[in-house]
């Protein structure tokens, strides 16, 4: 475990020494504050559209940070040849995969916490209302989802040649899944066989990200999600994460690395 966390530590250092996070945070902050500065009909307490916008920006920024950070881990190690001094140590390829996974996941979690702190300060200053437990639940579920996304991106980085292609393909895939997968069962009903079966299969196979998206509940002040449901969602994410990591390890261990 020491090795895994040592590798994870390097990934976290890389995140806060690169500019990506700061640029995205600055953009999110700027857009949110600009939106909050507008007054509609001289009503000073309107806040839900600001919450909605800020949460959407956080969601997108978290995806970009996670995918961009993860997609370049193993390919850049190979391209910059830092993988050789690493694997020349008593480190297994499985430990490298796990280390990169934990590093990217923890890094994205840290970024998420900072984004949400900003969100809580901005919205709380206008609402004078802090449902902290609901916010914690939202952060937790989103972080769990980012774990799934990290594992998926790691797998993509093993399959595709360049980090840029991994980023593009994973972003397109994740947007499509986010938008379509909750509704594929409904779409399937309106299609003839065999398309109906294919769509149903896709519905059950593709990961469902709506289990981790509490934005509508936060904006609409719907209160806490039952913790049992959160637990089930976490198990669901853990299953997919484990599957993606296993596939990543199987792919990575087969790759010949020549100096």
């Amino acid at each position: 475990m020491k090795t895994i966390f040592a590798i994870a530590g390097v990934v976290i250092k890389e995140l806060y020494r690169r500019k990506d996070f700061y640029v995205l945070f600055a953009l999110t902050a700027l857009i949110t504050l600009a939106a909050a500065a507008v007054h509609f009909f001289h009503e000073p307490n309107i806040i839900r559209y600001v919450k909605d916008l800020c949460l959407l920006l956080i969601w997108i920024a978290a995806w970009i940070i996670t995918i961009a950070t993860t997609a370049r881990q193993i390919p850049m190690e190979r391209e910059s040849r830092t993988i050789f001094p690493l694997l020349a140590k008593p480190v297994t390829r499985g430990q490298v995969v796990l280390g990169k996974f934990f590093g990217c996941w923890l890094a994205s979690g840290l970024a998420l916490v900072i984004f949400y702190l900003f969100f809580i300060v901005v919205t709380g200053s206008r609402e004078h209302y802090w449902p902290l437990l609901e916010y914690f639940q939202a952060i937790l579920l989103q972080w769990i989802m980012l774990g799934m996304l990290t594992a998926m991106t790691l797998l993509g980085s093993i399959i595709f040649a360049a980090p840029s292609s991994t980023v593009t393909i994973v972003l397109i895939a994740i947007f499509s899944i986010w938008f379509l997968s909750p509704h594929l069962n409904v779409v399937a009903l309106h299609n003839p066989e065999p398309m109906r079966d294919i769509l149903y299969a896709a519905y059950f196979i593709l990961p469902h990200l709506e289990f981790f998206d509490l934005r509508e509940r936060l904006v609409g002040d719907w209160g806490l999600v039952p913790w049992s449901a959160c637990g089930l969602a976490a198990l669901y994410a853990a299953a997919y994460t484990g599957l993606f990591l296993l596939l990543t390890w199987l792919g990575f261990r087969r790759q010949n690395l020549s100096t």
Partner: protein
């Protein structure tokens, strides 16, 4: 199907992997064969190593020579676990190279030295020390010693991306020595270095030899090999051509270079 030993690191390797005959040999290959298959159709399989038998004993400085494309780097890649052998075996300290624990007591300096550019030299060494499970106290003691040895104390807190090539090479040497290895594998250690840098590397190799360490390195600088090595092996087109003491291989040739050229079958072109 899935070999869990590739995933988890064994603290105590299985005794069955330790060959009784290899007790004195630090590094050993037996009939090592490596083939590379390309994805293109009707392309012949490339044979990088053909049944290589090599043995490096404890405490010696061993030079591994050969022209470009001879199979030196492939041999090192197999020893370090980057490339699996097609057939034959390779072991370090009697442990099969496919087991990660085989690398616990080695240090490796690649030919092209690239390290995490966003880390400082100190952070890099600390990272590798954690991988070797060195204690905090041991790490805090080793790092200043190594930085002094490679003359990087003044740049220890600067990110590696600000280093010159020579400085990066010295960082590489420092990370190869972080765990006080019993076997050092160096791939072209003086490549790209100025004469002062090359002298420094030679001094370090000599010092390690005096401490009883084993050094296995490849180089094109035959003058240095002649000076530093106890034994050399010459490999050409994947085959081991000769192995032995420098003096024995030189024979009647005045320099190791002339002996080398003769062994690899170099025919000088006669003027028309």
């Amino acid at each position: 199907m899935i070999d869990s030993s590739e995933f988890f690191l064994y603290e105590n390797p299985d005794e069955s992997t330790v060959s009784p005959t290899a007790m004195t040999a630090i590094l050993q290959t037996q009939k090592l064969r490596v083939e590379f298959r390309t994805r293109e159709l009707r392309q012949p399989v490339k044979i990088a190593l053909q049944g290589l038998d090599l043995q490096v004993n404890a405490g010696e400085v061993f030079g591994f020579l050969g022209p470009n494309g001879a199979g030196k780097t492939t041999t090192m890649n197999v020893l370090l676990g980057f490339v699996p052998p097609t057939s034959g075996s390779a072991s370090l300290f009697g442990i099969d190279v496919r087991q990660p624990i085989a690398r616990q007591r080695i240090g490796y300096l690649p030919e092209l030295t690239y390290y995490y550019k966003f880390l400082t030299a100190e952070e890099l060494l600390r990272f590798y020390a954690k991988i070797f499970s060195l204690s905090r106290a041991e790490t805090d003691k080793r790092i200043p010693e190594l930085l002094k040895l490679v003359e990087l104390e003044h740049a220890a807190k600067r990110p590696i991306k600000s280093y010159s090539k020579g400085m990066q090479q010295r960082v590489g040497l420092a990370q190869a020595l972080i765990n006080n290895p019993d076997l050092l594998i160096l791939d072209e250690p003086t490549s790209g270095l100025d004469p002062l840098g090359r002298m420094k590397v030679r001094e370090i190799i000599q010092r390690l030899k005096n401490e009883g360490k084993t050094v296995f390195f490849s180089s094109h600088e035959l003058g240095e090999v002649e000076t530093v090595c106890d034994r050399v092996a010459i490999i050409h087109q994947g085959e081991l051509k000769t192995v032995g003491r420098v003096g024995t291989i030189m024979g009647n040739y005045p320099t190791l270079e002339k002996a080398f050229l003769n062994i690899v079958g170099y025919q000088p072109q006669t003027a028309p």
